[in-house]
């Protein structure tokens, strides 16, 4: 197979990211992929572009492909299906399938009629070359919930910018921490009891920081009930972008069609950011600023934290590193929470780092604790309390960056917060450390259950090192959109999650 080149990939992006087809304006017939003219109405017919990306289809037929082309060898064997979206057939790979399903022979009667929807995934790559992403992949609704995209133009407009939507994506696969301990001959209790790590989320073999960012962004967009053109700036914080140079945000914009279309692209801006685990929390401030200043002309800004980070096999990080993403949209329409105060705190502290071209990060063991995490989280927390003039008891909830359960518990206790205040935002024990997404997933977990008027204390942390602190107040609008949320706990506690072994997890780390 010849090398897949940039021009080929670019041309396919439009059709395969958003499953773009066309519809005849005369007779209403739909086509996938898009056609220049209607096969029934003839060459004079007028065609309009349609997308199947937000729709639900059903499986018509398929096969379990065991002898796959080399480029699919990482994913092989897998199930490929042909689906029907209201009569329009679209091919795709069924993904997030229980590995036990491929241990037995494919039986079409188990699959036919199953309702599935498209997801953006990584399908193949050239070694050292372009990674091809596509939405010609489907998931059933056992674990993944499909929430209908229903933009509403009738949302209240606030004077001040706030959070208008959020979404969290946690992959379906999980690895028990005890399983890792067993692999390396360690006592599970060191990690389970000592660090409060029970299990962690594992990306499927077709997932990475890019695909998880897209999925979290999609969920945030659905929750915000904003039209896609209303998002005009996107920041993605990550320390595990599969590309050293090439942003994740452009994939998010293209896959979700964010912003106003212009020619072959979108009048939308943004950038990827990197600051270990605070690459995304750091971008709340710029997001608030640019959506507050009418001169900039940005209605809404999406901030995403997405990570599927690396850990050296057997290293302490190997027990904690998870996979997941969270996205928050800032703007003035349909505000669900406002940011009342922001503070930051930074020092040049090399507690955890990864040199260019190195596969695994390094960390300075106990140096990552007292002089790094605690110094910055507590320092920043104190500054936030000073700036707000409030006491810990004045807050309903507190959430911190969570590399494990013990660190945030201890920081909270030193600052004067109770276990009840931090519990709803503590998610790490069941999904692992999701780095740039960790603090945001905690915040989302609180927003999932918070009531209007609730006050939230949040402090993120990134090695290298710094913290951002935010005082967030929940607004009335939160109640209006709650049915559009896929709660964090529903993903953590789902009885449809799938446990994998250490080898699968290793493969998923690439």
């Amino acid at each position: 197979m010849s090398e897949i080149t940039g021009p080929i990939v670019r041309r396919k992006v439009e059709t395969s990211y958003r499953l773009i087809g066309s519809q005849c304006e005369e007779c209403g017939r739909k086509y996938f992929p898009a056609k220049e003219f209607c096969g029934f109405e003839g060459r004079k017919s007028r065609m309009k572009e349609i997308s199947f990306f937000d729709d639900v289809g059903e499986i018509v037929s398929g096969s379990l492909i065991r002898e796959s082309p080399k480029r699919f060898s990482k994913l092989s064997p897998y199930v490929s299906v042909i689906t029907s979206f209201d009569g329009i057939r679209i091919p795709g790979r069924l993904t997030d399938v229980d590995p036990s399903e491929i241990q037995r022979e494919f039986d079409i009667s188990r699959y036919a009629g199953k309702r599935v929807f498209p997801v953006f995934r990584r399908i193949y790559e050239q070694p050292g070359g372009i990674i091809t992403y596509s939405s010609l992949n489907f998931v059933d609704q056992d674990y993944h919930k499909h929430i209908k995209m229903e933009p509403s133009l009738e949302q209240a407009v606030s004077d001040q910018t706030g959070i208008v939507g959020y979404g969290v994506y946690i992959p379906r696969f999980r690895l028990k921490v005890a399983e890792i301990a067993k692999k390396f001959g360690k006592e599970p209790s060191i990690y389970e009891k000592g660090l409060g790590l029970i299990e962690k989320a594992v990306a499927n073999l077709d997932e990475d920081s890019v695909t998880m960012a897209v999925e979290a962004g999609r969920r945030a967009l659905i929750h915000s009930r904003l039209p896609r053109e209303a998002i005009q700036e996107v920041y993605v914080g990550s320390e595990s972008n599969p590309y050293a140079v090439k942003p994740i945000m452009s994939s998010v914009i293209e896959a979700l069609a964010l912003g106003n279309e212009y020619k072959d692209g979108y009048a939308t801006g943004g950038a990827d950011t990197e600051f270990a685990c605070k690459a995304a929390t750091a971008m709340f401030k710029p997001a608030i600023a640019i959506t507050s200043d009418s001169r900039i002309g940005i209605e809404n800004c999406m901030v995403i934290g997405s990570d599927n980070s690396q850990a050296h096999p057997g290293d302490d990080l190997d027990y904690s590193v998870g996979a997941g993403a969270a996205a928050f949209i800032f703007g003035k329409k349909g505000v669900i929470a406002t940011i009342k105060k922001c503070v930051s705190y930074t020092t040049d502290t090399a507690d955890f780092y990864r040199r260019d071209l190195q596969q695994f990060p390094r960390h300075e063991d106990r140096f990552t604790g007292e002089p790094a995490y605690f110094k910055h989280v507590i320092g920043c927390g104190e500054l936030l309390l000073q700036k707000t003039g409030m006491k810990p008891k004045d807050f309903d909830y507190a959430v911190f960056h969570q590399p494990n359960s013990k660190f945030p518990e201890r920081a909270a206790s030193i600052l004067g917060f109770t276990e009840e205040q931090i519990k709803p935002g503590q998610k790490v024990s069941m999904i692992g450390n999701t780095y740039s997404a960790a603090c945001l997933i905690g915040l989302a977990g609180i927003l999932d259950i918070a009531e209007p008027g609730d006050k939230i204390f949040m402090v993120g942390y990134g090695s290298g090192a710094g913290s951002d602190g935010y005082f967030i107040e929940v607004e009335k609008g939160i109640l209006d959109k709650r049915e559009k949320i896929i709660p964090v706990d529903s993903q953590i506690k789902s009885d449809k999650k799938i446990y994998v072994d250490y080898d699968f997890y290793r493969k998923s780390k690439g």
């Binding site: 197979m1 396919k12 059709t15 395969s16 086509y31 996938f32 992929p33 018509v60 037929s61 398929g62 096969s63 379990l64 492909i65 065991r66 002898e67 796959s68 082309p69 080399k70 699919f72 994913l75 897998y78 490929s80 299906v81 042909i82 057939r89 679209i90 091919p91 795709g92 790979r93 022979e105 494919f106 079409i108 009667s109 036919a112 399908i123 091809t132 596509s134 010609l136 992949n137």
Partner: protein, 398 residues
């Protein structure tokens, strides 16, 4: 009135299989010379006005993208040489050339798949729709999806499909050119490794080297070359979408249906006159669907006819399909793609070779013996996972 469009006066072929020591150029020359030699009253290379050669993969497998120019040297000819993607397309174009006024045309096909420096399954993804390929489908994967849909819609028994390759292996046992001459039983097929569920390894046509060639002429001059020419009474081709998902049906090949319809109309021959068929059986579903798409059996009954007709692998040399009206139809007399071998570009021409020999009663040990003389044969070849179907009807009489 049946009217011949062209006449076949000679046919040649090589053995099919893993022919490690044979080069592509040599194979095609061997088949070509064999065809020339087979012309009863003789024909010269220089009498040939044009060459139409089927080859899909030579550029990928053997790094030859100029087969035409090689042939000019190897055969010492200067006539025009056109390369098509299949042997049947080569024949279709060759017949058109005869109809346009040429007297003598050589139609050939060649593939040298064991030369592949890219893996063949890898390359075959370029013959399917790019979105199906991105969905992970492979060439057998698409036929597997069709098989599954067919089994679902018509409540077909899985085991019926496994009988198809066994029947074709049985036919191939007497074929001295065939890649596989061993008996194959359904139990063995059903325990061979899965390729794309439910399709298993022993249900897929093999990777083969080989070449075949035939000489065709204007019908009016055919007797100059032989007393027993075989006439091509229809030559028809139809296309369908490359993508299975956008075709009207996932349980039939519309291209076959259309090409067959046209072919029957063109030749004014009824299906009842056809006694043998060479069919593209790269996977069993194609042979099952051929029975339905060509009109031999009703939609949804193909598997049943297969299941009920193929009962034992002992006794007579061939296992005919017994159609609803009791008539018999022998498919793939020399083993088809599965047993004879499937050098892709050569297959369509090998089908002509087989039917030519059968219709002339020259097939030796694998000669189909029916109550009466075989009069008509239908040839069915496809390209691009069924997107192109070519049908030729051959007759003993003009």
């Amino acid at each position: 009135m049946t009217k011949a469009q062209a006449a076949i006066v000679g046919a040649g072929r090589t053995r099919f299989g893993e022919l490690w020591n044979q080069s592509a150029e040599r194979l095609v020359v061997e088949a070509g010379l064999d065809a020339i030699k087979s012309v009863d009253k003789g024909i010269g290379r220089k009498d040939i006005n044009a060459f139409y050669i089927g080859s899909l993969l030579l550029e990928k497998t053997t790094n030859i993208s100029t087969l035409d120019a090689y042939l000019s040297r190897e055969l010492s000819v200067h006539a025009p040489i056109a390369i098509l993607k299949s042997g049947s397309s080569a024949l279709y174009n060759g017949v058109n050339a005869i109809k346009s006024g040429l007297d003598v045309v050589c139609v050939g096909g060649i593939e040298k798949m064991t030369d592949a420096f890219v893996s063949i399954p890898e390359f075959l993804t370029s013959t399917i729709d790019q979105y199906e390929a991105d969905a992970g489908f492979t060439y057998p994967g698409l036929f597997a999806a069709m098989t599954n849909k067919y089994m679902l819609d018509f409540n077909a028994k899985r085991e019926a499909f496994a009988k198809v390759p066994c029947k074709n292996h049985y036919h191939g046992m007497n074929n001295e050119f065939a890649q596989f001459r061993n008996k194959m039983l359904p139990e063995r097929v059903l325990s061979s490794p899965l390729v794309a569920d439910p399709i298993r390894t022993f249900e897929c046509a093999p990777i083969s080297d080989g070449a075949a060639a035939v000489i065709i002429t204007k019908p009016e001059i055919a007797k100059k070359f032989t007393d027993t020419p075989i006439y091509i009474v229809s030559s028809s081709q139809a296309t369908d979408h490359i993508s299975l998902y956008s075709r009207h049906s996932m349980t039939k090949f519309e291209s076959t249906e259309l090409a067959m319809e046209r072919a029957l109309k063109e030749s004014s021959i009824g299906l009842d006159k056809i006694q043998i068929a060479e069919v593209h059986d790269s996977t069993p579903i194609e042979e099952v669907l051929f029975l339905e798409d060509a009109g031999f059996v009703k939609k949804g009954l193909g598997w049943k006819i297969v299941d009920e007709s193929i009962k034992s692998f002992e006794g007579s040399k061939h296992i005919p399909y017994v159609l609803e009206d009791g008539r018999e139809l022998v498919i793939n007399c020399g083993g088809g793609l599965k047993a004879d071998g499937h050098p892709i570009g050569a297959t369509g021409v090998r089908q002509v070779y087989e039917a030519f020999k059968q219709l002339r009663n020259e097939a030796g040990k694998r000669q189909v013996s029916l109550d009466k003389q075989i009069e008509s044969a239908v040839l069915h070849d496809t390209e691009s996972s069924g997107a192109v179907s070519t049908i030729h009807i051959l007759r003993r009489f003009e």
